[in-house]
């Protein structure tokens, strides 16, 4: 079967776009939306399962499949329009490279997801993984204006648009952000950009965890104007103590005033990082999340962080942990058995806190699903949406996992 798949793929996509993965199975490396559509159409017809790999820097490339689909050749920044603060690029563009291209035009994409700097934009979209900057700039979905999607049966759909405000038609883009590739392959996206600010500053405070979370809440009450206010566990920050990181951005006067206020209005001792040290700090904490095999995301409010961290410590370990001390959300990376994650998810759900499996080996994803059990009435909608966008289950994505 494998050699027949190789043959048909090479015929359809050309020799250059077909390689093989570690296990000798075919890997398609298409460079256009049309080529992705051709691959998916063929897979749908032949009953092949297609594993979406992106650049293989975040989710382990281990879902059982007949063909792997790498987006590494979908790596073109199609257009940057600094005056309109929008850009269009293919989904396989490495995030770091995109930011470098944008920086030349004095604009940037305000997303700082955990993971490898070469992580593809498509992977960030599929997993909906936002980093500390979501505090000031919102979740991943707020940065995606539209794009092109290839469905599991090879249809090409355009969603949204290339302007910053748009309500024409249903917002199908939203289904792709955080959909883990279950509703199609995003091949190209329109992004909302920001102008590079006059000044940025990173300040760190170190100390006991509950003191930091309490002070963060105080700063929120004082309406500190920050773009990030993130708590890091000692292991993730590579420090001896817990770290609260504050990122300010804006006019020089505004940033300085807020830095002063942060010092005056909290009982914390802040140290300001030199720009090169700030970059290293954010890079270290971003990359650190990959050190564990599993990454979890918990939708918890800031006032529930301490309790949830205690629970994590009790059930798993404190591990590599970061949390939005100002607006909530907690991310944990480490090693965890299926049973422990399942228990944690159940306890969290009882408190109306969703636990999303952002990254894990296939056997854990398969057992637990990225989302596990949904709230009332959602399961049937998700299952119908899936069969709409991927009627033959071409994409092996475990959204729900096996039932207990």
């Amino acid at each position: 079967m494998t050699s027949a798949i190789f043959m048909r793929l090479r015929h359809a996509l050309g020799d250059a776009a077909v390689g093989s993965d570690r296990e000798g199975r075919p890997r398609a490396i298409p460079d256009s939306t049309d080529a992705v559509a051709q691959l998916c159409g063929l897979a749908h017809e032949q009953g092949w399962r297609v594993r979406l790999e992106g650049r293989a820097t975040w989710m382990p490339a281990d879902a059982p499949a007949d063909v792997a689909l790498s987006t590494r050749a979908l790596a073109r920044v199609v257009e940057v329009a600094p005056a309109d603060l929008v850009a269009t690029c293919q989904a396989g563009v490495p995030l770091a490279e995109l930011q470098r291209t944008l920086a030349e035009r004095r604009v940037w994409l305000a997303i700082d997801p955990p993971g490898h700097p070469e992580r593809s934009l498509g992977s960030v979209i599929a997993t909906g993984t936002a980093g500390a900057l979501r505090h000031g700039f919102g979740p991943v979905r707020d940065h995606i204006l539209g794009g092109t999607i290839v469905t599991g049966d090879g249809r090409v759909i355009k969603a949204g648009g290339n302007v910053v405000k748009n309500v024409a038609g249903y917002d199908l883009t939203k289904l792709q952000v955080g959909g883990f590739g279950a509703f199609g392959v995003v091949t190209q996206v329109h992004l909302r950009l920001r102008a590079v600010p006059e000044r940025r500053a990173t300040l760190l405070a170190r100390g006991e965890r509950d003191a930091l979370t309490r002070q963060a809440r105080t700063l929120m009450e004082q309406q500190l104007s920050a773009v990030a206010l993130e708590l890091f566990s000692p292991a993730l920050a590579a420090e001896a103590e817990w770290v609260l990181a504050l990122e300010l951005s804006g006019t020089a006067a505004g940033v300085e005033a807020e830095a002063t206020r942060a010092a005056e209005r909290s009982e914390l001792s802040w140290s300001r990082l030199a720009p090169e040290h700030a970059a290293t700090f954010w890079r270290t904490t971003s990359r650190g999340a990959r050190a564990g095999a599993v990454t979890l995301r918990l939708g918890v409010f800031p006032d529930g962080l301490d309790e949830m961290i205690d629970l994590l410590a009790e059930r798993l370990e404190v591990g590599l942990l970061s949390a939005g001390a100002g607006r909530g959300l907690l991310r944990w990376s480490g090693e965890a058995p299926v049973a422990a994650i399942r228990d944690l998810r159940r306890i969290a759900a009882e408190r109306e806190i969703p636990l999303t499996l952002e990254r894990a080996p296939w056997e854990i994803r398969q057992a637990l699903g990225h989302f596990g059990a949904y709230r009332e009435g959602v399961g049937v909608l998700v299952s119908k949406l899936r069969s709409t966008f991927d009627p033959n289950a071409t994409f092996p994505v475990a959204l729900e996992g096996e039932h207990d």
């Binding site: 359809a12 939203k174 804006g250 006067a253």
Partner: protein, 482 residues
């Protein structure tokens, strides 16, 4: 048949809350869009969550199409119900169920008026940020359906950025809980999918919204420019500077004069080619620094004068002119079509020139008042709907304006929705495959397509799909034998 249905609904909500006489139905013939009208089969006004669920279940059993409606302030004909459809009016479901001042959340029923939520949150120093111009009347349910915007959405985002969770009532009468209190989607982002679905996926029974703290400092600047082009260039300069004003609004001369001649006069200079209203908010130091920068940018772009509102009363007056501009346009002609389109911000000067040219070609009065910072245009066409020839010219000019915006890389609607009005424009920006995908998604929520029929996607694009809602298969070219 209709009488039997009316009786059934009356059993649920009480006879007083079912309207079926022609004179009663007339009130519900139109929304904020003057070019379209339709008389519903029946109107029902449920008074509680339980009644609403029972009504939708009864309509499901009867196989009757229906349209949900809030305050009827929509500008795309999205809440029009034709003679086969029952209009389900949600204005009586107007309870604010909870406000959590600590977590900055509110849970409301769909009939809560937008401005009322902000008023209720004021005591906690919070407000609900999206502020459509109709905010004193429009409802949160309608805002969710249309993904409504408003002047302050430039900085704070539109409705979809402020809704964290929804309990929805599907057309078959079943319930689904989308999202989570904190805002994490809890599965695929169905809240994001539902917001802006124009009442075609179901009814938002309970809306959980994010509240924002009131900014400690606000500064509103009024700049007047000799030409629209100069004002547009100032907009570009501000956007490129990296400063994100809370609002950045433009009015052209026709609009300024209408406002100044009305009871909403705000002291705008009537000889200006255009004015910009720029609002900066946040911490005092940042606002001071940003307004100094913005003032300089405005002057460098050719502003004749820049005036700052220094008191809350002055600020309110400047905003009143903007928010009541549509009302003031009543002085120009009896009817007003508030158009809505979006263009890339850098194309604003050229597009506004082209819209002016379209106005001249069709001999129509077009005034512009819009969210310049977003590139979200509202060309307003003043006319008299009693003159059919004139009404036809309005229609043609509207179509041409849309075509120009689409050609520039824009969209046919930024915040009003497609509704009935823009159905025909959808193929201008979406191909058949994308439109049929929208139909298929709609059928996931509403397999019988009874909720708000004939809106958003032209019906013939939905026919390519099988009755089971599954897509047809794309057949790849078969490979040659080796």
């Amino acid at each position: 048949m209709t009488a039997a249905l009316a009786e059934r609904l009356a059993d649920i909500v009480g006879p007083r809350w079912v309207r079926h006489r022609a004179a009663e139905l007339r009130t519900f013939e139109a929304d904020g869009l003057p070019t379209h009208a339709a008389r519903p089969r029946l109107v029902v006004l449920p008074g509680s969550r339980g009644e609403l669920i029972a009504v939708i279940r009864a309509l499901h059993q009867a196989g009757a199409p229906w349209v949900a409606r809030g305050a009827g302030t929509g500008l795309s004909g999205g809440a029009l119900a034709e003679s086969d459809s029952v209009l389900v009016v949600l204005t009586r479901l107007s309870r604010i169920l909870s406000i959590d001042p600590l977590r900055h959340r509110a849970v409301v029923e769909p009939g809560v008026v937008n401005a009322r939520l902000s008023e209720a949150a004021l005591q906690f120093g919070l407000h609900y940020a999206p502020d459509p111009s109709s905010q004193s009347a429009c409802t949160l349910g309608g805002n969710v359906a249309e993904n409504a915007g408003g002047p302050h959405c430039l900085k704070y985002g539109v409705t979809t950025n402020h809704i964290v969770a929804l309990e929805v009532l599907l057309p078959d009468g079943s319930l689904a809980r989308l999202g989570s209190p904190q805002g994490e989607p809890w599965g695929p982002d169905l809240v994001g999918l539902f917001v802006g679905s124009e009442g075609m996926f179901g009814i938002a029974l309970e809306i959980s919204a994010r509240l924002e703290p009131l900014p400690p400092a606000i500064r509103t600047l009024l700049a007047d420019f000799p030409t629209v082009r100069a004002a547009s260039e100032a907009v570009s300069a501000i956007i490129a500077s990296g400063i994100v004003p809370a609002a950045l609004e433009m009015m052209d001369q026709a609009c300024i004069r209408a406002v100044e001649a009305s009871i909403f006069a705000a002291g705008y200079p009537t000889d200006a080619g255009a004015i910009l209203l720029v609002e900066l908010d946040g911490q005092a130091a940042a606002v001071a620094a940003e307004s100094a920068d913005v003032e300089e940018l405005l002057q460098r772009s050719g502003a004749r004068s820049v005036r700052a509102a220094s008191t809350p009363a002055e600020r309110a007056r400047l905003w009143q002119g903007r928010k009541k501009a549509f009302g003031a346009a009543g002085r120009i002609a009896p009817d007003l079509v508030v158009q809505d389109a979006v263009v890339p911000r850098s194309t604003l000067p050229d597009i506004l020139d082209r819209i002016a040219a379209i106005g001249r070609d069709y001999d129509l009065i077009i005034s512009n008042v819009f969210h310049a910072g977003d590139g979200n245009l509202h060309p307003n066409i003043s006319y008299d709907s009693r003159n059919p020839a004139l009404a036809e010219r309005v229609k043609q000019a509207s179509r041409e304006i849309m075509a120009v915006c689409v050609e520039a890389g824009g969209s046919i609607t930024g915040e009003h929705g497609v509704g009935a009005d823009k159905l025909d424009y959808m193929p201008l920006i979406f191909d058949a495959e994308s439109l049929s995908a929208m139909c298929a998604v709609r059928r996931v929520f509403d397999p019988e397509q009874r909720a708000n029929p004939r809106k958003v996607v032209p019906v013939h694009y939905c026919k390519e799909w099988g009755p089971d809602g599954l897509p047809h298969r794309r057949t790849a070219a078969p490979p040659h034998s080796p």
